[in-house]
């Protein structure tokens, strides 16, 4: 279990955020360990996306701070990558799959001669090996989201922030991508901050699930998930521990909603 302090790769220290007069996040304290998978659940509008944007450095907290690898976070960093929910809008539609991944490498100044090999490796890793020259408009939703993940991985991130990445996909594709994400997390060792409204998904993927309460957004409860890894879509989801957690989460969110 994460001990406050020493092992945290990323910590939110009393983070609060207001948009105008509206307090969106209030006094959030959370430590995230290196390599950990943390999911965030809570009723719609409770500040899940906002918390992710704060962690990304895209918005600065109005109060408190984020400490990343021991130093205060002052803005976006290339080793913190984001996967957005709306893959259709987060990809560059005029660029092919190959060129979309290339965007990350171009921006990071990766040597031109190194790019093709790395891009092809990423395409292969994410299962798009045969679709390098397709434009997003020629790809299914699942493929587009894979592409966005590949672009994020091109940053070689130590932290992956994901905002309901599988929310718009059909159930089968979602489960496939969940398993691929778990494989990736083992392969890369990246820390994953995963926003979702799918409670089973949260339990299935995570080491811990953070339950947010709304108005203002604050941490209500943190659920430890002690399910063994590797996880399996059938056996994990059928285990009593899984069902028990799902039950508790459900009751938490239900209670938070009213």
């Amino acid at each position: 279990m994460t001990q406050i302090g020493q092992t945290a790769q990323m910590r939110l220290e009393g983070v609060s955020l207001s948009y105008g007069a509206k307090l969106v996040l209030s006094d959030i304290n959370l430590d995230i360990a290196r390599g950990e998978i943390v999911s965030v659940v809570g009723p719609s509008g409770c500040g899940k996306t906002t918390s992710l944007r704060v962690l990304a450095g895209l918005v600065s907290p109005s109060g408190g701070r984020i400490v990343y690898e021991g130093t205060p976070l002052s803005g976006p960093r290339r080793d913190i990558a984001i996967v957005f929910q709306d893959y259709g809008k987060a990809l560059l539609p005029w660029r092919t799959a190959y060129q979309n991944i290339s965007l990350a490498l171009e921006t990071m100044g990766t040597d031109k001669s190194e790019r093709p090999d790395r891009i092809h490796a990423l395409l292969k890793l994410i299962g798009l090996g045969n679709h390098a020259d397709k434009f997003p408009s020629q790809m299914s939703g699942g493929m587009q989201q894979r592409l966005q993940i590949a672009r994020a991985l091109a940053q070689e991130p130590s932290v992956l922030l994901m905002d309901e990445p599988f929310g718009a996909l059909d159930a089968m594709t979602r489960q496939t991508l969940q398993d691929e994400l778990l494989t990736l997390s083992t392969k890369t060792g990246a820390t994953i901050y995963f926003v979702t409204h799918d409670l089973e998904e949260a339990v299935y993927l995570s080491d811990r699930v953070v339950g947010l309460l709304p108005n203002p957004g604050r941490v209500g409860r943190i659920f430890d998930v002690n399910l063994p890894r590797p996880r399996d879509q059938l056996t994990t989801r059928e285990s009593p521990e899984f069902l028990h957690l799902r039950h508790e989460l459900y009751q938490f969110v239900k209670g938070a909603e009213q």
């Binding site: 809008k89 987060a90 560059l92 660029r95 965007l103 434009f135």
Partner: protein, 262 residues
């Protein structure tokens, strides 16, 4: 799709032939005096003769060159200024109203003023064409840059892109569809302005050719010139369509249909 296209092509050809036939009938029965409307065959003769013996060819090439050079200048200036204004809130605030005020002034209204001040040298003609033709591109670039998908700014932010990179890799590419549509519109403006400038300045070109033919009551030469203007308009437009189809091939078929380029 190809069948529909073939049928469309045959239909448009049939309409053209029917049109020429009607033209032939009108002149045959002298419904319009021949000083105003020459028969198709005489127009064709004038066209072939003018092109073969040189003067019409020379005039046509001069007009084509002016049109294209003026248009290219307009593209560079329009997109360049548009990129500056569209990405700078300060410039937008100060220049926006002025640009809006300038826009409705047709470039042809400017020509007499310019002639009065500096005369219409070759350079001046190009400037007038460029000035008249740059507005659609300028406004399209500004509009395109202002309607960039906001999420892409987050993508850029997470990658720590600098402003120049954001403009070149995200802003301008997403403005490309708007800019291409404006470039097509500007081609027509450039052709009209090239012709008008030639009429007013007397420099060699189709404008001057038209004026000269009209003064000589040579309707066949006049129509030959008009025909060439039509062909220029048609061909440049067709080339733009090919370019657009290639450059916007990333659009989904549905979007492409809506943009009218499929």
């Amino acid at each position: 799709m190809t069948l529909a296209r073939t049928i469309g092509f045959i239909a448009s050809l049939a309409v053209a032939i029917l049109f020429i036939f009607l033209w032939h009938l009108v002149t045959l029965y002298k419904l319009v005096p021949p000083v105003f409307l020459p028969p198709p065959m005489k127009t064709y003769d004038a066209l072939v003769q003018g092109l073969a013996s040189g003067p019409l060819l020379k005039a046509s090439l001069a007009t084509l060159q002016r049109m294209l050079l003026g248009w290219l200048l307009a593209c560079v200036a329009g997109v360049g200024i548009g990129a500056l204004v569209g990405t700078s809130p300060v410039l937008m605030r100060y220049l926006g109203p002025t640009l809006e005020a300038f826009r409705p002034i047709p470039a042809s209204a400017l020509i007499p003023v310019l002639i009065a001040i500096v005369g219409l040298s070759e350079g001046m003609i190009l400037s007038v064409i460029a000035f008249g033709a740059l507005w659609p591109m300028l406004l399209a670039t500004i509009h395109g840059l202002q309607s960039v998908e906001p999420l892409l700014y987050d993508v850029a932010g997470a990658l720590r892109m600098n402003m120049a990179t954001i403009i070149s890799k995200i802003g301008l590419p997403s403005a490309v569809p708007d800019i291409l549509a404006a470039m097509r519109l500007s081609l027509t403006i450039a052709l009209i302005l090239a012709t008008v400038c030639e009429m007013l300045s007397g420099n060699t070109g189709l404008g001057q050719w038209l004026l000269y033919s009209a003064r000589q009551f040579s309707s066949a030469n006049l129509f030959a010139g008009i025909l060439i203007l039509g062909v220029f308009g048609y061909l440049t437009n067709a080339l733009m369509t090919v370019a657009e189809r290639h450059l916007l091939r990333w659009k989904s078929p549905h979007e492409a249909n809506r943009a009218g380029i499929a």
